[in-house]
């Protein structure tokens, strides 16, 4: 199966020449889609193992774990680090699964225009009435790092969603 893992590490390539001159290293972000599968280990015991979603069967109803790994190698701290991940098309966000150490997690039900913490997001129904958004209404997830990243920092943010 096709595997598309684009790693855009060269932040430097995208920034203005002036910034490039000052910057050594940067943020590296990597996206991983995985599925939990039951496997028998060497001792014959069943264990749950995470397998890359491209290397196992994924059917409607399957829960997929999306994890975004980041590392930082800049010589000055990176501040105001915000990681965003739209809930992919054909997927439904599973309530309470977004996580990320040292981050403030918010959700959007309007494709990223507005964000709020879980349970405080509203959505406008077809009839124009505003109501509290359910997890299934979430379209985007945002992780805001509470502290600057120093050189050598690494971490990850994650969420789970179900294939429609």
């Amino acid at each position: 199966m096709r595997k598309i893992v684009q790693i855009v590490l060269a932040a430097a390539l995208l920034v203005p020449a002036a910034a490039w001159a000052q910057q050594k290293g940067g943020v590296v972000i990597r996206s991983v889609s995985e599925v939990e599968v039951k496997q028998k280990n060497a001792e014959g015991k069943e264990e749950v193992k995470r397998v890359d979603a491209t290397k196992t069967k994924v059917l409607p109803g399957e829960t997929v774990i999306f994890t975004n790994y980041y590392t930082y190698s800049g010589d000055k701290p990176a501040t105001n680090v915000v990681i965003k991940n739209p809930v992919p098309d054909h997927m439904i966000y599973l309530d309470g699964t977004a996580a990320g150490a040292g981050t403030r997690i918010e959700f959007s039900a309007d494709k990223g225009k507005t964000f709020g913490t879980a349970g405080k997001v509203t959505v406008r129904s077809a009839d124009g009435k505003e109501r509290r958004a359910a997890a299934a209404d979430y379209t985007n997830i945002r992780w805001t790092l509470e502290k600057p990243l120093n050189k050598g920092a690494k971490g990850s943010v994650t969420f789970r969603a179900k294939v429609k």
Binding site: Q22, S33, T54, P60
Partner: protein
């Protein structure tokens, strides 16, 4: 005299039409899900400041392809009642593609091994107008290609259409399973589940439930449901009795010594078989049976019981002072049965 009068047929057919009509218009509530082959892409972006300088947004993606889930559901719509010799009796089913890819289906009508009789001329038609009955436009099933592909969540109504054997008896039932086996869209080969680990391309996974037919286990790409043909036959036997008086003087006066010649005619009508028809006629009071006069259809019958192998009739042996004639099974095709016997007025 009546045997097994049963007029349910008309009601049952009306119910079938209603059922089929409802199913034909109601959309299926359960969606089969994201189509097989869909690529799902997750895109992450990062914004940050380098020191105080905002940096361009970084992004990364990962993606995977949704595999093919095969699921098919067969549900029985009707359980018809049919008269013996009735042609084109429809047993209706709905076949729904509950998988996430277009499929076609190999269909089989399966008579249960426990059936004591079977329908004749068993065929499968697609009920194109959901009428619940065989109509001129309905397509006869030949192979999985006949009815074409069903997209995800779509369904069609098919009928096992068969003729009721003439010997079928009122109340008898025969159970048939309709089995639908998943076939790859545009092909005639039965779909195969991808064995072992994930492969390049779209893998195939069976998630169908076990069906009603023997051996139709879960996750085999097939599903089945059962329906029942019930024989609803009616049969009515009509008797007609006449008497001819022959007095000793050659006239027709019912005087002492006159002979009364009774003639009983029995005929059967209706769709079924009147089984073991027995005519019993008590000798009238103040008369005496004239020995040796009992005839059935012109053939003399003995008056005795004739054990151990009795003929069709006797006088007084089965029931005292009564003429008994056993006519056996009668149908509307049987000729009229004529019984004649004589008594003398005492």
């Amino acid at each position: 005299m009546k045997t097994g009068k049963n007029n349910f047929t008309a009601t049952c057919i009306a119910a079938v039409v209603l059922c089929a009509a409802l199913l034909g218009t109601a959309p299926d509530a359960a969606a089969a899900g994201t189509p097989a082959g869909t690529t799902i892409v997750s895109t992450v972006t990062v914004d940050f400041n380098f020191g105080v300088v905002p940096q361009s947004t970084l992004s990364a993606t990962s993606s995977f392809v949704v595999d093919r889930l095969i699921n098919v559901t067969v549900t029985n719509n009707s359980n018809p009642s049919a008269a013996p010799n009735q042609l084109n009796v429809p047993l209706s089913f709905r076949v729904t593609n509950t998988g996430n890819a277009a499929q076609r289906y190999a269909l089989q009508p399966l008579s249960r091994p426990t059936n004591t009789w079977t329908m004749n001329n068993v065929r499968i038609f697609r009920d194109d107008n959901s009428s619940g009955t065989l109509d001129a436009g309905d397509a006869l099933y030949a192979d999985a290609g006949t009815f074409g592909d069903l997209v995800s969540d779509a369904s069609f109504t098919v009928m096992i259409v068969a003729d009721t054997p003439g010997a079928a008896v009122n109340g008898q039932t025969a159970i048939y399973d309709l089995a639908a086996t998943s076939v790859d869209a545009g092909m005639l080969a039965v779909s195969v589940q991808t064995a072992g680990p994930d492969t390049a391309g779209i893998d195939t996974v069976f998630i169908d439930s076990a069906g009603s037919a023997g051996g139709d286990v879960a996750r085999d790409g097939s599903h089945s449901d059962a329906g029942t043909f019930t024989v609803a036959s009616s049969s009515e036997v009509t008797m007609n009795k006449t008497v001819l008086v022959l007095d000793p003087s050659g006239g027709n006066l019912p005087v002492r010594g006159a002979t009364l010649r009774y003639m009983i005619t029995a005929t059967a009508a209706g769709t079924g078989t009147a089984q073991n028809v027995v005519v019993s006629d008590p000798i009238p009071a103040n008369t005496a049976y004239t020995a040796g006069t009992l005839r059935l259809n012109g053939v003399p019958l003995t008056d005795t019981a004739d054990l151990p192998v009795p003929d069709a009739g006797d006088v007084g042996a089965t029931t005292p002072d009564t003429v008994t004639v056993r006519l056996g099974d009668l149908t509307s095709a049987s000729p009229a049965q004529t019984i004649i016997f004589e008594v003398t007025i005492q």
